[in-house]
Symmetry: C2
Subunit: 320 residues, 2 copies
Amino acid sequence: MIIKDSITGDLDLVNRYINRYIKHDISAIAHIGRHLIDSGGKRIRPYLVITTSRMFDVPVDAYVKVAAAIEMYHSASLLHDDVVDNAKQRRGSPSANNIWGNKRSVLVGDFLLAASSSIIAGMKNDDLLGTFIRVLSLMAEGELIQLGLSRNTGLSQKDYYTIIKKKTAYLFSLSCESGAIMGRAPDTVRRTMRQFGLLLGIAFQLIDDNIDYVSSARVSGKGRGVDLKEGKITLPMITALSGADRKEKAVLGRALAGTTDKGSFADVYGIIEKYHGFEYTKRRAESFAHRAIGLLDGLPVSPEIEELRSFALSVVERKS
Amino acid sequence: MIIKDSITGDLDLVNRYINRYIKHDISAIAHIGRHLIDSGGKRIRPYLVITTSRMFDVPVDAYVKVAAAIEMYHSASLLHDDVVDNAKQRRGSPSANNIWGNKRSVLVGDFLLAASSSIIAGMKNDDLLGTFIRVLSLMAEGELIQLGLSRNTGLSQKDYYTIIKKKTAYLFSLSCESGAIMGRAPDTVRRTMRQFGLLLGIAFQLIDDNIDYVSSARVSGKGRGVDLKEGKITLPMITALSGADRKEKAVLGRALAGTTDKGSFADVYGIIEKYHGFEYTKRRAESFAHRAIGLLDGLPVSPEIEELRSFALSVVERKS
């Protein structure tokens, strides 16, 4: 990912601001908080908040707080997701639930959620708060829909896009819109930034779903084929399911039912490749990224716009 | 519990308002939501919001929303607590995590938390929102401290009161203060209501901790001795530990270490009785309830004040 040097200073401020909350007397908060901060997340959401806020002359201390709150909320959602998924790894390290147990992960997640809400509420901006809280609901809904449809081979592309929008893209959207909200940009501009973030988030998740199958654990930071193991049906799989013959469908179905072993992962991988599932997913991601970039044409030229353009391109080229 | 007939109508409105959120396309939300609503919770927090709001001439539709939000948040916290505690029963029925699994309980909890925040944020009252969000943090902290000190026989009374204030009493406090906040009562009155709720909440939890040992499953709605099984050290146990001789301490320690069976529950019960642990806990609860009632003397006489007085007395007499 291309993250401009000029942003590094602001990201430091974000980390420092997060530290205020996670340097806590309660050891579970301090330990899990540190684990999350040190584990080298990509800080994509803070990056987006910072870059887009600069376009609208938002004061640094304001956007640092919002970036911190969004990252803390993102961490909270990862803690809960890892409990929901029984995840063992996250970002190349053992996941928090794996080290400290599900109980602490649930509760520290709750704490971080409350802390992030507290930061946003403290900004005294009703628009921002309303948007933030709407995203909290949408993300919980996205995870629940995904869970309800897991191992369901009838999952449609429409269902899939509903899930990834809710579980991923709306938070990207908020990250890109928050600067426009704080900077009191005109409604049309605000809508552009919101839509840019949404399309970027969809592209990001599509690539994530390819990476889950394609990248080694070392590169992706978690095991390969985790989605398959959990019965999560993503676009590469949907593509394969829609093309596969009866025998192939049976292979995919058995793997999704959770009776897979290493041999069958290779079979599934082969079937997805045969039906160009990864390629199709990548093409769709490119299409969303280009639509996102296209939206930026309507905005006045600025270094931040250039930055966002190359960032959107890098999102679909990433391997981890 | 004495809940006045005149309040029943308002409680119906609260239930109807909650229904707007839990009648949801996502079946996990609808099912778990209905389970929580139908399982006959005591609705103590809505009752307190309603009764105290009437003292300050808050419009019905405003306090109904706040009562609904607080009850929904309470439900969210129960869902997460039951996951944390591996609870099997709640209010005499199988717990949600027992029926629908931990995953759905975590996520529906997140959804309800977001929904309740959304209702409170929608009230456009910064004081109310700030207080609400502070309680979210405090409750997560309380649960984490309790978890960190579970099975720790060195737990002090001070630790214990910190835990029960955070995990229970601050939400009571918010329930009693919210009417004064919305009704723009003078600061001194607001403080009285807040403090009344806090003391009442402490009394409530003390009695709860007695009930856990004393009442049959049929009466308490969950198994007997659940706290002991989970290694939760409450005031009856602290009292026993501080009086017990070496041999008795060993019995209590073994039971708290999680190696107990039915025989040893009887032993533990006997030791707590011997050192008047239940009686002492009841006396402490009475003392907090009376302090709470005493605070009401400073307020103008009203039917609501009378109602709160008898409610506070009933809290320490309750058996379930």
